[in-house]
Symmetry: C2
Subunit: 446 residues, 2 copies
């Protein structure tokens, strides 16, 4: 049987930064920047407050900062907490082939390490890219069946990426990297059932933390299986009904999943983005007012209702999984950023009144990045919009300017303007930083 795990581990161990193509490095930097914005932006969410209150009494030495905050924790807790805040807004990056949010588990794992051991910007970027490749390739091998069963793939695949990236920084040899992936895989977990609760963002955080622990244990020759991915009782067989190992080891170093990463313009489940895009376009083109609207009809991809069909969300987190709330917010506010998913907005009477006028039906023929929107006005007119490729999709990506706008918008309320600007510039310069820990120090509250 092909030694899938060993081939992947050897590839990670042998990889040299100079062999990473320029477009992949560029995508890596953009992904890292987007992650940083999300993590800083999400850092004051009460999800973080509660996690910190629970875990602070057990933290080790203050080795690493929590992005956007003043507290310091040991490396592994910092990985967990940064991973939570990077995902709590559901605003992070997306590998559209698998709906993995790749940066969360990987960047959260390795940035704290850069405060604890010498890591250059190039080393950090290299490890980050390798980690993203590992998790997305493993995701590809089992998607969509693995996801359909109910696994939150960002957590389940992410832990492998975190272990690979952390292991690369630690300089593991091939056997140790195999064991690190084994330890990571046996901790692979996270149910989609948790969506809409604080435990969703716990998943990439825990994946990051568990990935670091796996690499640290493997460095001490803590033994594990040699074939966690391919064994009959390993990851791909136990946690999926489909597996294609060629997705993991085929064209390694030639085809790069990292280059396919995309960035969300809206702070919610990505399957709703086409509908939001269409509603905002209609709103702006026709200066729509909520009071004038009789109803809003959507024709959407089936996944929209499966994932985001919450009719009456009660909290902001639930609102992110409601196509109804998202579209009504898009009409009223012309946006679907984090503010439009505040608890108070979701519970606002005017918002609820319009939300109840939104109806959605699914059609097999409609693609994931596509939507048909029809707004019927009280005067009987019907305004229509067909979005073929939503903004943020592979076919219609976020421009660099929009990515900067998004970063600034996220960081603005957390860090002083000058510090936010400096942090953004450090992220762009990632590859040339002598000390990657500088990024973490620049991203904490002073």
């Amino acid at each position: 049987m092909t030694e899938v795990t060993r081939i992947l581990a050897k590839w990670v161990v042998d990889s040299k930064f100079e062999n990473i193509p320029a477009n992949v490095r560029k995508s890596g930097v953009a992904s890292f920047l987007n992650w940083m914005g999300c993590a800083v932006g999400g850092s004051r969410h009460e999800t973080l407050d509660r996690a910190i209150a629970a875990l602070k009494p057990f933290s080790g030495p203050e080795q690493a900062g929590i992005l956007g905050r003043k507290e310091r924790f040991d490396v592994m807790h910092a990985a967990l907490l940064n991973g939570i805040s990077s995902h709590v807004f559901d605003f992070d990056d997306t590998h559209l082939k698998t709906i993995i949010h790749p940066a969360g588990p990987v960047a959260s794992a390795i940035l704290p390490m850069a405060e604890w051991m010498p890591v250059t910007g190039a080393q950090l970027l290299h490890a980050f890219i390798l980690g993203v490749e590992v998790e997305c390739r493993i995701g590809n091998s089992v998607y969509p069946q693995h996801y359909d069963i109910g696994w939150h793939i960002t957590g389940t695949a992410g832990v492998f990426g975190a272990a690979a990236a952390a292991g690369k920084l630690l300089g593991l040899d091939e056997q140790q990297m195999v064991w690190a992936l084994g330890l990571a895989g046996t901790q692979s977990s996270g149910f989609r059932e948790m969506f809409g609760t604080m435990t969703k963002s716990f998943h990439p955080g825990r994946a990051a933390q568990n990935g670091v622990a796996s690499a640290l244990l493997a460095r001490q020759n803590y033994t594990s299986s040699n074939r966690v991915l391919e064994a009959p009782r390993g990851f791909a067989h136990v946690m999926s009904t489909k597996r294609d190992f060629n997705e993991i080891i085929g064209k390694l170093g030639e085809v790069w999943e990292t280059a396919l990463n995309s960035y969300k313009p809206f702070a919610c489940g990505i399957v709703i983005h086409p509908a939001i895009d269409g509603c905002i376009q209609l709103r702006n083109e026709h200066r729509l007012q909520a009071e004038d609207i009789a109803k809003i009809d959507l024709r959407v991809d089936p996944l929209v209702l499966e994932l985001t069909g919450k009719k009456t969300p009660q909290t902001g987190l639930e609102g992110k999984f409601s196509v109804y709330h998202s579209c009504e917010a898009a009409i009223i506010y012309g946006a679907a950023g984090e503010k439009e998913y505040a608890d108070g907005v979701v519970r606002d009477r005017r918002v609820i009144a319009l939300r109840d006028k939104v109806d959605a039906v699914s059609e097999e023929a409609i693609n994931e990045d596509e939507v048909y929107v029809a707004v019927t006005l009280n005067d009987g007119r019907v305004l229509k919009k067909h979005v073929q490729h939503a903004i943020g999709s592979v076919a219609n990506p976020m421009t660099e300017d929009k990515l900067i706008d998004k970063f600034n918008g996220l960081v603005r309320d957390v860090l002083p303007a000058k510090q936010g600007d400096e942090l953004r510039e450090l992220c762009w310069k990632l590859e040339s930083l002598k000390d990657a820990g500088e990024l973490a120090r620049k991203a904490v509250a002073v």
Copy 2:
């Protein structure tokens, strides 16, 4: 739909110690004693050395001792490390209906807490029994299909038990207990693929640690799903093809799984125990010498070859999953304790020579606690033994004396004799201890 998770959570929260039947308490004390012996006995294994070397730099305040050792860690790391050492010999307790080793995840979670907050012996025993009930009932609901898929059920079900027990000590309310189970469930993990490596014993340790974390987070109202067990994308649907929720919530407080716990006489996978029992009996009855034996033929339950069919184990850990090594050791040494699974023994030439003479075939009609052994001597004689119920099985349980012998044998090489005796007496007196932390303090190296 029945609120399985909430009913279970409410039962744990409402449970009063005075309503636990005497036989269940007694079984709880025996299980705790057996766990303590295994954890102290396993504490010097290199698995622990490596885990400690890897994790010590990240430990929080020295809140809790590591049984059998001098190091102190924060509560959560102590839960992990004690869980590892309690399982590293594969000598711990077994809930035979599910092959769960119940004490590991639960006791390892709560004993460190008793060094960090006031916990009486009765509170500890109460939480322990509830945790064991929770994990074994959840195990019952999905066994055997869940195990057959490849999940190491001690880890996957154990994390629920650890969370329930830790949550009971923390005084969680019903909603918090629901969330604690949700957080635990979304971390449920561990592949059987890891058997024979250091990662096997990592599973109950991580389950203990994750259970404590789940309870601590829930206490801060870190939200999670309200129905992790029964939801379509929750534990029982995602991680099993079979589920029977009545096993979880039927006759709560009337039927006690804790009372069914059993204790291993031999330091290896429980399915080999009948074969070892039979070989030891034949050896002692006929004063067998390895040199006189031409071959050893076993007829065993099919699970024996599936789980312990390693023909040529290279390490002690692998030897625990070799029916061949175990039977040859039983003949040569008349025992199958931890010493017979030392690396040096497994690699000994004389041992290997006899091992290669052991053959095993499986028969559907043979039960899990049954075996037929036939030893053919060089002179042509054939000596036979049929074991109907192996020692340590429900039908042929370990006596209290044998349990004490086992404890003494495990602790002897780690703690001074007097300290070992005092520790054993403290365990027997568990229910009346004013400060359960005394147990942990008595169990560490001085």
